[in-house]
């Protein structure tokens, strides 16, 4: 704790400015200290090292490797070395000349000589198709009879597929003929390159990710707020109960926490669907008519309800552990000073729960922003989140570069948030009950 009067007592260093820096035998103090403490530092580090190394290998490195895929771009360079060489100096406007097509032919022939597993034209087609529809068809269909082509090659190629006559394809080849690319990030931001190589917004009906990020963010914020709204009262209630009763109620919080996520999600399907428990109950009580059943699931409502339920314990646990440590004397002090119970709560109690709210909110927000399973099951379309899109590119469309770019952006966002939280509140307030 800082000593109160800053000005008053002269500090020791004012007394002996020089001797501070060396010990009696003349060694600089810092070095003497380091020497004396080295063994302890090593011992402490030795305890942490196994886990640190483990995580760096099994976790941090793989994520770095995955992020690398968002810029890694070997396909064009591998498949078309000669073509790229020949394309140097191409103006990017008209269809290239014979030299380029001859180089292209040479690249095709070289590729067919390679063992099948090392052939580069397949991956090239897939890569180019991300940038330009039908490019894969052009590459693969041309490949089936390219060995019959005779010089001059230009005409043969233009006959084989219309895209060879489209400067757009050549621009893509030229642009992506580098080992690193920004194209995945461009796509992840709903942008594309225009004919002059400028990055422009995509056609309106092809924009997905930015709005999906926006929605993911809004959904996560909403869910965080809801968990706070529901979590605060019960955490407070438990914190004023005697330990025994509080622990019993805590089991009510922990039980869902311990029940498989998939089961809880399924249970919500049972509860919320049109013929589900809630609708049926409402109909039988007469609140809604049989034809006015509510759409509570396979949309955003379903995602919000199920995720709020699933994440609520992550809010309650840190809140509760903070509230337990706030001594009742603060509220009493406020009342003795003349504050009404409401004022005392608002001005004195609530501000002291902020670290708990912060910890809970960050946990819930971080978890929900990366959520995947529940939205996939109950989200329908309006309840899907960015992670579903990442998973789709990982597993279905196989556009791993785009998945990595989307993932990297998500990760960076989360890390910034965590960093800010750590600065503002301190990560060591994260507690789990």
């Amino acid at each position: 704790m800082a000593q109160a009067d800053a000005g008053g007592i002269p500090t020791a260093s004012e007394h002996e400015p020089r001797r501070k820096l060396v010990t009696a035998d003349g060694t600089p103090l810092k070095r003497a200290l380091q020497r004396a403490e080295r063994r302890r530092v090593l011992a402490a580090f030795g305890l942490v090292a196994p886990l640190l190394i483990f995580l760096l290998t099994v976790f941090i490195f793989p994520i770095g490797q995955m992020m690398w895929r968002s810029v890694d771009n070997p396909q064009v360079v591998n498949a078309l070395p000669n073509t790229l060489q020949a394309l140097r100096g191409w103006d990017g406007q008209d269809v290239p000349g014979e030299a380029v097509f001859a180089a292209l032919h040479a690249d095709y022939m070289a590729d067919q000589d390679r063992p099948r597993r090392e052939q580069a034209m397949g991956p090239l087609g897939i890569r180019l198709n991300y940038e330009l529809s039908a490019a894969r068809g052009a590459i693969s269909r041309t490949g089936r009879n390219v060995d019959t082509f005779e010089a001059p090659f230009r005409e043969a190629f233009l006959d084989a597929h219309r895209l060879w006559g489209d400067p757009a394809l050549w621009r893509v080849i030229q642009r992506e003929g580098r080992p690193l690319t920004a194209a995945y990030y461009v796509a992840a931001l709903d942008r594309e390159y225009d004919a002059d190589g400028n990055i422009v917004q995509r056609d309106e009906n092809r924009r997905i990710y930015v709005s999906l990020y926006g929605r993911t963010l809004a959904l996560s914020l909403g869910i965080t707020f809801l968990t706070f709204l529901l979590g605060f009262p019960i955490a407070y209630y438990m914190s004023i109960l005697p330990m025994r009763q509080a622990n019993l109620l805590m089991i009510c919080v922990l039980l869902p926490f311990w029940t498989s996520l998939l089961v809880r999600t399924t249970a919500w399907i049972v509860l919320l669907q049109q013929q589900g428990v809630i609708n049926t109950l409402l109909v039988s009580v007469g609140i809604i008519g049989d034809d006015g059943r509510l759409s509570l699931i396979y949309n955003m409502t379903g995602t919000i309800i199920a995720m709020t339920h699933i994440l609520l314990p992550f809010m309650v646990l840190p809140l509760y552990s903070v509230m337990r440590t706030i001594p009742p004397s603060y509220m009493r002090a406020a009342k003795s000073l003349g504050a009404t119970p409401t004022t005392a709560f608002r001005r004195v109690y609530f501000p002291q729960t902020l670290p708990g709210i912060g910890a809970g909110a960050v946990l819930v927000f971080i978890i929900s922003i990366g959520y995947y399973i529940t939205p996939a099951l109950v989200g329908g379309q309006s309840g899907r989140m960015i992670s579903n899109e990442i998973a789709r590119h990982m597993q279905q469309s196989l556009n791993w570069g785009l998945a990595a770019a989307l993932g990297t952006m998500l990760l960076v966002g989360v890390l910034i948030l965590y960093w800010a939280y750590n600065k503002l509140v301190g990560a060591d307030t994260l507690k789990l009950g």
Binding site: C252, L261, V277, G407, V414, D428
Partner: protein, 284 residues
Amino acid sequence: MRTLPPYATTGERIWFYTFRVICFAIFFFLLAPILIMIPLSFNAQPFFTFTREMLTLNPDGWSLRWYQDLFGSDSWMRSIRNSFLIGIAATILATTLGTLAALGLSRSQMPFKGLIMGILISPMIVPLIISAAGMFFFFSSINIAQTFTGVILAHTALGVPFVVITVTATLVGFDHSLTRAAANLGASPTRTFFKITMPLILPGVISGALFAFITSFDEIVIVLFVAGVEQRTIPREMWSGIREQISPTILAVASILVLVSIALLTTVELLRRRSERMRGLSPG
């Protein structure tokens, strides 16, 4: 707020009861899905709805069909075995590594504390889909994708933050003069650890271990990416159940697991009370 004082106004009285009603409604919200699932697991039909027969309490609407299905199914039995195998192995690894690290981190001499803490809890912060994707590629490249080793290592990584956080928190309240006292009385560091530190931080270690276990036990995203058919766990089997083949067997599994959880949580609470008594703290 625990009891109504004699000077409470009418408004305060109304709020006092309203607040309790609200709280119990929220607790009900927490429990509702679990309560609904158990009767449904006795459905005679292969769908997740209460049939008319069930609602009229017609015995034909109820059956043990899904429980028989569960215990008769090799794949379910295998997934249960796998879940426990993977969960326990990952928990042991995470708890050992995490506890050691927490001990190191709690030493005042530890350099780069903030950074290292950040790395150690990163598996909790990084969105699962990203972890899963990264591990999928990396594990494939070192030939441990679709092996038990791979899944166990992945789940160890996911469980570690919980152990580090809970044990570190326990160590904050740990009286370091006890280890000094032990050394002073002649105990070597190893002996001190096993005889003094470990028994005292055990509650924190156990709660971290439970978190690590449940993380593994309930984990699906990583399993979807990294596990092969031989490593299918309960959640993975449920995933098939929900998305690939319709079968309320998952409700039967879940009901059994809920009962196990209740038993486990109750045991933990009883243990806690016992240890408080042991330490002479009044049971509060």
